[in-house]
């Protein structure tokens, strides 16, 4: 059995991770920390887990040794305390942003302060299995990708790997859970309900991540819409050559036919023609679709995930499975609900 603990388990990602790990046959959940809720039952903060576990939160200081330590801490915490965490666990999976970028300068530009441990950036493997399966299999330190970056990268990867993409304009539509479970002026229900908020029209942190992986000319915007879970990335890709629909199918099938969690969704009829995050709540799928613009060299690529699953906790458990040579779908079989 893999002994796993979660540092920073009172947030939405930590709670989703707890749900998945409790249901994973090869994992035993040791501890889950929260400074605010230390001593309280986990289900007080994660009500869906009432009766599923009698675990209580403990303080970070009480963390003891385990096989895998998942970090779901506020920005800057994991890089500040990384040595302490490495002394407690042979393997670390960080769901936060500290070790996602390869270049400290990028981190400073987007997070507004210098990276405390830039020398470690290289040793963390970026947690998208579809991108880094071999490296993940040998990794001890994993940095999960941001949710918006995960959706964008999985949507665009086949075109960029095939060398047919010139530039891309990406707009992600996201839900309110992406901002976490701390209340704020903006999350006050009478103000947030029905709102359509262009909260990041430019310069989003995830843009740096996407550029690190795909390279090239990537423009990024994010809009918050009436949704709790979910990301839909609408990517306008300008091709550098003529490609018809069949050639595009070939590129996407070639990249994803054998992937357990990426489905190609592109139908000519019916009411479910393209990826829709509404169908993926709680599931680890990334649905990808595309449509060729007959009037130009543009292909619109659509990529949908649940930001708390493939965009966070699901990606972390998938990485856990790869790191331990387990079947990649183990503990991640839930297919999502319909209708939802």
């Amino acid at each position: 059995m893999i002994g796993a603990s979660i540092a920073g388990g009172s947030g939405y990602a930590g709670g989703e991770l707890l749900r998945l790990l409790l249901g994973h046959p090869d994992v035993e959940v040791r501890q889950i920390t929260s400074e605010r809720f230390a001593g309280r039952f986990a289900h007080r903060v994660h009500p869906n887990l009432r009766g599923v576990t009698r675990l209580r939160f403990c303080a970070l200081a009480e963390l003891s040794e385990c096989d895998v330590l998942f970090l779901c801490l506020p920005h800057g915490e994991s890089s500040r305390r990384i040595d302490e965490f490495r002394s407690l666990a042979g393997r670390i999976v960080d769901l936060g942003a500290d070790f996602r970028l390869r270049d400290g300068a990028d981190y400073e530009r987007f997070y507004g302060r210098p990276h405390p441990r830039p020398e470690l950036l290289e040793s963390f493997v970026y947690g998208i299995a579809e991108l880094n399966r071999e490296a993940l299999a040998r990794a001890d330190l994993v940095a999960c990708a941001g949710c918006n970056a995960t959706a964008s990268i999985l949507g665009l990867l086949p075109l960029y790997r095939a060398g047919v993409a010139d530039s891309a304009v990406i707009e992600v539509k996201v839900g309110s859970s992406e901002a976490g479970n701390r209340a704020s002026e903006g999350s006050h229900h009478p103000e947030r309900s029905g709102a359509m908020r262009s909260y990041r029209p430019t310069g989003h942190r995830h843009a740096a991540e996407i550029r690190t992986v795909l390279g090239g000319d990537v423009h990024f915007s994010a809009t918050a819409v009436e949704m709790v879970r979910g990301v839909l990335a609408t990517c306008h890709v300008f091709l550098n050559r003529e490609l018809d629909e069949k050639a595009l199918w070939k590129i996407y099938r070639g990249a994803y036919a054998d992937e357990p969690f990426v489905r190609i969704v592109k139908e000519r009829s019916g009411i479910h023609r393209y990826p829709d995050p509404n169908l993926l709540a709680g599931a680890n799928h990334c649905d990808v679709g595309f449509e060729r613009d007959p009037l130009s060299n543009r292909v619109v690529v659509l990529s949908a995930i649940d930001n708390l699953m493939k965009g966070a906790a699901g990606q972390a458990v998938q990485a856990l499975n790869v790191m331990h040579g387990l079947p990649e779908s183990r503990g991640l079989e839930f297919p999502g609900l319909h209708p939802a």
Partner: protein, 54 residues
């Protein structure tokens, strides 16, 4: 194996296909028609693109 003319996938053909038989491509959902046998060749079956309301 015959290819779907739209997406290039290899749709499942019944054991004893008949000319004119309709089948759906599992990947792109387009309705196909068996135009000829040995070798089995497929073509898009004519169906009006229904407006899905938006």
């Amino acid at each position: 194996m015959p290819e779907c003319p739209v997406c290039g996938a290899e749709p499942m053909i019944s054991d004893d296909p008949v000319e004119g038989e309709l089948l759906e491509c599992e990947e792109c959902g387009v309705e196909l028609e068996i135009l000829a046998l040995d070798p089995v060749t497929l073509g898009e079956a004519p169906d009006a693109e229904e407006d899905w309301g938006e």
